[in-house]
Symmetry: C2
């Protein structure tokens, strides 16, 4: 059990750092705290606490779904989940010699939606296929290709290893370390993912210049025509997507336009390619689809069954192990942060969170994904928080009254994903030109960057001092500190982005881990007040109740509404 | 003298309307005013007053040019004048079977710059080739083609007639009617011109699909590639052009970026077409140039001489007369409003204006344009006000201290236009792809629309009432009044735009005149307070001193700094 030991050691290290941290904050460490420092919570304690809190509410989660909000929420969540998933399907299709396609991505989303909708402790967190998993999958493909081993067999073992590590982390309460995560790595990760989206959009457009189905001479025409479609979609999509930033119409209509703009953009610009004129001369490559309910790949696996497990040499089983660790690190971070973001204190949730048990469940879905040969699903940013927002009930002034916390929306959008796998829906999806998927990537990436805190801090730095918003907390930060902090942020981004563009791309979750760890040196560089603004904790006390050491070690306290950090993502 | 008589009648009509108007405002017309109502100022009185005020300052206008501001002003004005002129040259080249080209447009700008720089009463007003004149020229071409008459001979007579009407209007003091012009027709005209710019940009792009120099199969490629270049140029050009709206950097740098962004955009995106990759496969059609200092057309006129006068049948000389009237109406409006806008009260000009004499001079340049067979120049919006702005001296707080009023900048930019006609510069211009000119039209059109008051009023109408700026004067307007006023504005625009897209395009100055006249019914629909906000007078008392009836009729008062309307264009 070397693995567990080393993990425990790193946990202890983190705990001792916490101790330093709390010393730093309170300046009066008492003996009681010092004694508790080395206490280790019982294995399975976190899972037990989660189930203890949440299980009694499972029935109520279904009766609570009797509310009008769930109807628009299901529709919005379905499209928010489907459209980026299609873009990732296209990306993986292109980069894995068609190992993955639309069917795999839909099946993964459906499985995740149903499993997490019905069984998870926090069914508000939408789970599906993410950009990082797409990168992970095709990078493994690139690495595995020269080894002449079966790709799906290898991915099976990666997922199985990852499932085992998920179980270990859930049982040993390692999910509790989440409480020390600050926004610094989240902001970098968000920045990185959005830049990657823009890069993916560009890559899809480049592929349009090498269109096998168009005659040679027309390749340039279809390439440039695709850029035109993507740019026009970007311009109009972004204007509508950012409509909530304008003072036009009223709040409800602004939100409506912003929410549905992406789905309508895909519809409109797909139709646009049929508007006639010179567009009729162009062959627009479409989103590739295959036989309904069957795997995409005809050559790399048995196309008649979803059971993708093939035996691979024992050597390769162990080569799969480090990949499993990397996938686990990625999911540990990405899934839990998605879940935290879906449970911001502004949403006024009343049902408890469930991080340990849900991470266990994520291990299960990862294992299932390995068996079926589909991309492993995990928590989706920004879909998870958007899902919670779509369930909020507001009063006339626009303040949040409550959130319709239930299992119906997540489950039903999963079932709808399964329905999308039927032939008629696949044929509809096949009408989507790849150029539109590229535009979708651009809209997602640029919208994301516009909302990213690193971008807004860079803008702040270059803002005319006479025009700065005086109520902005950044006014309390020394310029020197802000510049240094931004350098750390950008260095983290450059590290992640650079590594994904090399053969070592697979290592990007390690850089991600590094950005989590580097935060522990911040108290030596910045003042406490500065860090509270620049790098607050991601989680708030109520949400992470079951992550806290005193609870895990038996001092189970009542729900506490005070938040540790009031950061707004 | 039927012409003069009818003109006098309309003047009397306008005067009586003014009388009604002033009755409406003061409610106490005295007998003195009533008696003065029918007095007619002496012919040439306006010109005499202008020269009387301005001639003594002609020498000082040269010595005052010894100021640093003139250097950036000359550079900025040159590019502001050159670039749209090139876009118009391309447009006329395409639509008149190459009757006009870059050489004609440059010669016209050079002639106008030098004549108005050296001789005009108000040398701040930049004169050159405008969009409306381009439309006028090619519409005349469309109409004249079936008549089998010589186009340049016909245009010679159009210009000569127009010159005569300019002289008549200047001598009979009809320029004085300008004082009754309100912002309503100016706003419509601005809206119309900017929409036409966008339309021109689209038309140039459509032509790229019918590229004679590219093989058939590549026409689509060069068409779509041109759209890509134009769209990218638009996106980045607009961001930089609107940089003064952001709070970034400081005022000086924002203004610098905004001012030079267009010239740098043309440079960058022209270079972009040589960046390699797939762009190398594309044949980008360039701005066509011909032999330096010689006329463009090789077939329609003697290409060895600028004297374009050919005899045409006497019948056609009289057909040219109504066209001359229309050109005069256009110039009366367009030139004088440009001049007014270059002399806003915010600019704190101290040297007197000169509308009557300058309109006489415009008649001369129109005549010269007819003789040389080049487009007739007139006052440029927005280049004229931008020129004045570039000459302002600010204090540290950004307030205007003074304006460097002189003849150097206008004259020198005219000489530079002449220099641009030399072979090396023409070769540089020939590097500009037509797609870039299209992007230039888009940037001009969309920037113009963003600053147009009709657009901002429509936006106001759709603004969330809780987010409206409480200090905006529009708060004092009833919504019903605003909607009715906007309907008038949009009806005026639709009229102008619709007519330019028919064979009757030539009539658009008549619609323009109609929009000037329709203002006289506004006091019956809107309250005085509403009209002061919605439709203020264009001119202010100091600027239009020599337009006022009491001055023209002999009661020559001292310069009066109070303004009639405080409208900011």
């Amino acid at each position: 059990m070397t693995e567990t030991e080393s993990v425990l050691t790193s946990k202890e290290l983190a705990e001792s750092v916490l101790q330093d941290n709390s010393t730093d904050y309170s300046n009066s460490p008492d003996t009681h705290q010092r004694r508790r420092r080395w206490r280790i919570p019982k294995p399975g304690m976190g899972i037990w606490l989660d189930l203890h809190d949440r299980l009694p509410l499972y029935g109520k989660d279904w009766t609570d779904a009797w509310d009008y909000r769930v109807i628009p929420s299901v529709i919005e969540t379905y499209f928010n989940n489907l459209l980026p998933a299609l873009a990732f399907a296209q990306d993986m299709f292109d980069r894995t010699d068609n190992a993955y396609g639309v069917n795999e991505v839909l099946l993964s989303s459906a499985m995740a939606g149903i499993v997490f909708g019905v069984m998870s402790g926090q069914p508000l967190c939408i789970v599906g296929v993410t950009g990082p998993v797409s990168i992970f999958n095709y990078t493994v493909y690139d690495i595995i290709k020269p080894l002449n081993t079966d790709y799906f067999g290898f991915m099976f073992w990666v997922c199985i290893w990852s499932m085992i590590f998920h179980f270990i982390m859930a049982i040993t309460n390692l999910v509790g370390l989440l409480q020390y995560v600050t926004t610094f790595p989240c902001d970098i990760f968000g920045f990185f993912i959005n830049v990657v989206y823009i890069q993916k959009g560009i890559q899809i457009l480049i592929l349009q210049f090498n269109n096998d189905n168009a005659p040679d001479a027309d390749n340039n025409a279809s390439g440039f025509a695709s850029i035109v479609v993507a740019l026009l979609m970007l311009i109009f999509g972004l204007i509508f997507k950012q409509f909530t930033r304008t003072p036009l119409l009223n709040h409800t209509i602004r939100t409506f336009i912003s929410d549905y703009s992406t789905a309508l953009s895909v519809l409109f610009w797909s139709a646009f390619t049929h508007f006639g004129g010179r567009l009729n001369d162009i062959h627009f490559e479409k989103l590739p689809i295959t036989k309904s309910f069957f795997p995409t790949s005809q050559t790399m696996r048995d196309p008649t069954t979803w059971l993708a497990y093939h035996s691979i040499p024992a050597r390769d089983v162990f080569i799969a192990l480090p990949f499993g660790i990397i996938l686990t690190i990625l999911f540990y971070f990405d899934h839990n942060v998605s879940s935290l973001m879906a449970q911001r204190y502004q949403y006024k949730l009343t049902k408890p969170s469930s991080f340990h048990y849900d991470f266990l469940l994520l291990g299960v879905t990862t294992g299932i994904a390995g068996v079926l040969g589909i991309p492993a699903p995990n928590g989706l940013i920004p879909q998870a928080p958007l899902h919670t927002e779509s369930l909020l009930v507001h009063d006339v002034d626009g303040s949040v009254i409550k959130c319709v916390e239930q299992r119906f929306t997540n489950t039903v959008q999963g079932v709808m994903m399964l329905g999308t796998m039927t032939r008629p829906f696949l044929v509809c999806l096949h009408q989507i030109p790849q150029a539109v998927l590229s535009g979708l990537f651009f809209i997602m990436g640029i919208s994301g960057l516009m909302g990213n805190v690193i971008v807004s801090r860079i803008i702040w730095l270059f803002t005319d001092s006479t025009r700065k918003n005086l109520s902005d907390p950044l006014n309390n930060i020394r310029t020197r500190s802000l510049v240094i902090f931004l350098c750390f942020s950008l260095a983290g981004f450059v590290g992640e982005f650079a590594i994904t563009n090399t053969i070592a791309a697979i290592g990007f979750p390690l850089i991600l881990l590094l950005t989590v760890i580097v935060c522990f040196i911040f108290p030596r560089i910045f003042t406490k007040e500065e860090l509270e603004i620049l790098d607050p904790h991601v989680a708030q006390r109520f949400t992470i109740k079951n992550l806290l050491m005193e609870n895990l070690c038996g001092h189970h306290t009542k729900a506490d509404d005070s938040q540790m950090g009031t950061v707004d993502f």
